[in-house]
Amino acid sequence: MGRFRFDLLLLLLAVHWGPALSDLVISKLDRRIDLTSQIVRMTISLKVENKGPDPVSKVSLTFPEHQANNLALLVAVSTEGKGKTRGPTTNLPIKINQPDDSPPSLIWYAAILPKELVKGESLTIDVLAVFTHTLRAFPEKITQSEPQLFLFQESAHFPSPYKVKSQSMTVKIPSENIESYTKLENTKFSNSEIKYGPYENLPPFSYSPVIIHFPSNKPFAVAQELIREIEISHWGNVQVTEHYTVIHGGAKSTGEFSRLDFQTRPHVRGASAFRNLLAMLPPRAHSIYYRDAIGNISTSNIYGDSSKTLLEIEPRYPMFGGWKTSFTIGYGLPLQDFLFQSEGTRFLNITFGSPMNDILVENLTVKVVLPEGSKDISVSVPFPVKQSQETKFSHLDIAGRPTIVVEKINVVPEHNQYFQVHYKFSNISLLTEPLMLIFGFFSLFVACIIYMHADFTISKSSASYLAKLQWDEVLGTIQLLQDIINRCLLVHDKLEASLRDLSRTGDVQACKAVRKAADNLLKDLSKESKPLLSLLQSSPQAAHIFPKVEELVVKERDLQEKIMLKHTMVVDSYEKKSGGRDIENRVASIQQKITVLKQEVDDLVEFVEDI
């Protein structure tokens, strides 16, 4: 217990130190220390009064070095007035302000006042100090069935550099059981609270050590390492992935572990262990997962309403003192809840710390992965952190995504405040990803086209290659011919349709006009087909199919003539105003031939198509 000898030294030093800062006097100082969780929270409410002639602009708060090393957070708020007339509160900026002649075992913090305190005025300041690693397990090692006991050391007198007129300290412990506590004058223990004081008229730096030894089975979940990765996608999602390495930070477990004992009487044989962790995720969180290196962990539950999503996770085994586990949780959040735009820049507004209840994070790394193409990046965090920048490669990236890395040690739930990442991003860059996919598919098609057009034959003069070339030519010619014949057949249909129109409307002129157009078109087509036919005839490869093709052409021409004939006859009859029955009789024989020819042409076309 070397610390106590050093405390005595402090006390001696303090005696010499007193007068230097005696302008301010603390008229009332109340301290409440909360030991109900692994994180020790001390709220100090003090009323300072200026007795000296000079105005004062700052108030010094001092903590012994061993406490200051574990100080995770120090916030001071000043309030003007009292009781019902309490004015607005102001957050006081705090900085380390070590006087040159102070002993190194005392760390000084200065709270800068919003306005100077002149003679005779007083001010109420509320201070919150959060300490980690302050509770010491004693005994340091326990077995499965033993309760967990902790030692807490503090001074009953706040080591203030000012004179304190009246002060008291209240310590709250988790249960009504207590092992032992230092009894000073004016000490009272009731209802799980120990009250020291009030003590009147204490000189500066007075020190009176107390030790409290108490049982606590609260979860001592300490995340030795937490990496939070927040990835923004402008397609509508903020993906959060958290990698935890959690250890039970209480008394080390010794001896053997009996699963049977734990299972049958968990509150007696395993009181110091914790089974689950509760994470409070933002509302509308979706796609939540919980896994570790060997896969999904199925022991988790989700409860949710419109204001929050509760995720209860259970590690693979109950956590005893010193036991360690690592896992990953991940969830997606809707973009519009966290990403905002103002004055041309975009910013992400999201909480900093871990969403777990009452977890202490020793090393927190927050990575914010911005979309590719983000520029002018800046971060604003409400407390000092270490910042750096890196690049992350993910899906469909070329240059990589700019990533902001923010690191902080000893993060407590009080650090779970909103922080902002500002950046510039153009919506055009959103199209790079689909364009890459499109380019990928297109290059596939281009490869196909090139393959189909390329000629991979090694020997360009071999007989089979030449034969193949000729055959390709024949096929091409046949395709063109087929095209022409199809167009002829279309013209035939048009002529037939004009006849039907004629019978309905009796408009001879229109019918004649259609006939004239058809005549011209058919003439052109037959002109077009002539060189193709002669090409086919000259090609030896086409020898076996040429008769069929020729037959098709001949039959088609025959059909064409018959249809023309029929057309002429019908039109003539209309001009001579013959009766409908008469026309039908005259055309009947031709019509029969046309039907037969049509059938034959259709068969031939089908045959040619199959080539």
Binding site: G236, N349, M452, G476
Partner: protein
């Protein structure tokens, strides 16, 4: 937090992603099929390069956006 800030949401509502993916992939695959049918049936003489390239381009636009929406719908936010 700045008061005048407006929330940013995705250019296409996320609820549409699955149907957009199915629709665009279906259209893209049909056009791809027609491209390959054309490649296989036309002879090298009668094939037109412009038609091939245009069909391929249209098919890849549909397939590209279709696969993007498929990724988004399945939770891979690119």
């Amino acid at each position: 937090m700045v008061q005048s800030a407006k929330p940013i949401s995705s250019p296409v509502p996320d609820a549409w992603y699955p149907s957009l993916a199915v629709l665009m992939l279906a259209v893209g695959l049909v056009i791809t099929a027609s491209f390959f049918i054309y490649e296989a049936t036309s002879s090298s003489k009668s094939r037109s390069l412009a038609k091939e390239v245009v069909t391929g381009a249209v098919a890849s636009v549909f397939l590209g956006f279709g696969s993007l929406f498929l990724l988004l719908a399945s939770g891979v936010y690119v």
